[in-house]
């Protein structure tokens, strides 16, 4: 199946003030692959995710989602295919109850309220958060908010998931639960993270970003064993790896 494909080809992006954020990022991910995107702060990870989701237009280069390039004309297809879990769940959750928030995406896809509701409940169940359905999002803990935000994205039935720092701010148990969840998905996944232990647990492949380009692409253990590469990219080997 080629429709879960995710590609970036020579993507460049400059901030409005002219500072380059991406300088020709290129990679290819096939169906069902789980990729990590690692790199220092400001390496361009978040911007690359935004370009792939069609939320930011690149200055040059082409992002491909499924079989179609990401352009304003294919935005409908991109919205249905790509699910984006944002770094700060508070940015995402805004309806009065978790269930209504999770149903926001399906309703926007044009589903009838009944169907949107059943999809939302299903999505909440798949992340083990159905007891939260009638709670107000702003009263949830950080881990619960993350689960609700992920459910909100899953409810849209995406083939590809982009996750920006999914484990940031989670306590150890919530983080462990997230890792189990990420491992269980069969979506094509691209996870931008500083949590290299999470990478070892969840990803078969790592992309290392440095100054707006992808400088290394390979199997996590091989990448994390390359001390010179890690040092150059302001990274450190994961704790479980060095022990």
């Amino acid at each position: 199946m080629s429709h879960h494909r995710l590609e970036a080809d020579g993507i460049r992006y400059d901030y409005p003030d002219g500072t380059p954020a991406l300088r020709g990022a290129t990679f290819r991910a096939g169906h069902g692959e789980s990729l990590a995107l690692v790199g220092a702060n400001g390496a361009g990870k978040s911007t690359l995710l935004l370009v792939l989701a069609g939320l930011v237009a690149p200055s040059a280069g082409v992002a491909t989602v499924g079989d179609l390039p990401v352009t304003p004309a294919t935005m409908e297809h991109v919205r249905r295919t790509v699910g984006f879990v944002f770094q700060d769940a508070d940015d995402q959750l805004f309806m009065p109850t978790v269930l209504e928030d999770v149903a926001f995406g399906p309703l926007n896809l044009g589903l009838a309220p009944e169907e949107a509701k059943s999809r939302a409940l299903q999505a909440l169940q798949s992340v083990g958060a159905e007891p939260l359905a009638s709670r107000a999002p702003y009263r949830l803990s950080g881990g619960e908010k993350r689960l609700a935000a992920i459910a909100g994205v899953l409810a849209m039935g995406p083939d590809i998931l982009l996750l920006d720092e999914p484990s940031a701010g989670l306590d150890p148990r919530a983080r462990r639960r997230l890792i189990e969840l990420l491992r269980a998905f069969d979506h094509t996944r691209l996870i931008a993270t500083h949590d290299l232990d999470l990478v070892l647990d969840c990803c078969a492949r790592v992309l290392v970003m440095h100054e707006g380009t992808i400088v290394a692409d390979g199997e996590p253990r091989a990448i994390f064993a390359d001390a010179a590469l890690l040092d150059r990219c302001h990274l450190e080997p994961p704790l479980s790896f060095s022990a």
Binding site: Q92, Y138, M156
Partner: protein, 268 residues
Amino acid sequence: MGRLEAALRDLRLADTLAARDTPVSRLDPRAKVLVTAAFLVAVASFNRYALSALAPFALYPLWLAVAGRVPAGWLARKLAIAAPFAAMVAIANPILDTAPMLRLADVTVSAGWVSFASILARVGLTIAAALAVAAGTGMHALAAALAALGVPRIFTGQLLFLWRYAFVLGGEASRMQAARTLRGGRGSPALAVYGPLAGHLLLRAFERGERIHRAMRARGYDGEIRTLRELRWQVRDTVFVLGWCAYFALARFVDLPLALGRAITGAP
């Protein structure tokens, strides 16, 4: 917790209150919007010296607050915020309109003071009703009702964004305040510091707003906020609308306190 954060939590309480199951929250939000609109029109339509005739109208906000189990303290705090504005609007009346109007015991009350009191009473009534309705309905249901009653979506959308971003902006402000206090800033900042603070707040809120907008777009937001709630008009909604409107009409055209006084004293 800073004062600002406490105030935000207090405001947020409206959503929490609306989520409970009460006789008020069970009503169709359209019915509540219609009755409240009729209430506002009726209260506003009295002549400017009306005072005792307004008293029967207190029944509606009172019923909303009691049946909707809205905490009296919460309602009072919100009213206290509005009171200075009302007083400011009305304060010119006692100065400009000095004709004597009433005698209470040995004190002569001028027409200006009567209209001043009338304005305060109306502000109190209308704001109490609006707050109690909001607390018994929730902002999202209110917006849905307004949209269903024909208010353009651009306005109802604005209402929801105002509600959403008030907390975003307030949250940013309260974090900045905490950061300032922790580094020894006491009291209110010097006037010269307000500029940079406000600028910072604006930039932060912009960034946050942009992230929120992106997150909404990523989930297919196209300018319309859709919800699962379906509005269902039931018999009790019809009863609610007709009952209150009849009461407002009666209280508007018959001076109930006066009629009551006459019935008790037997005066003609």
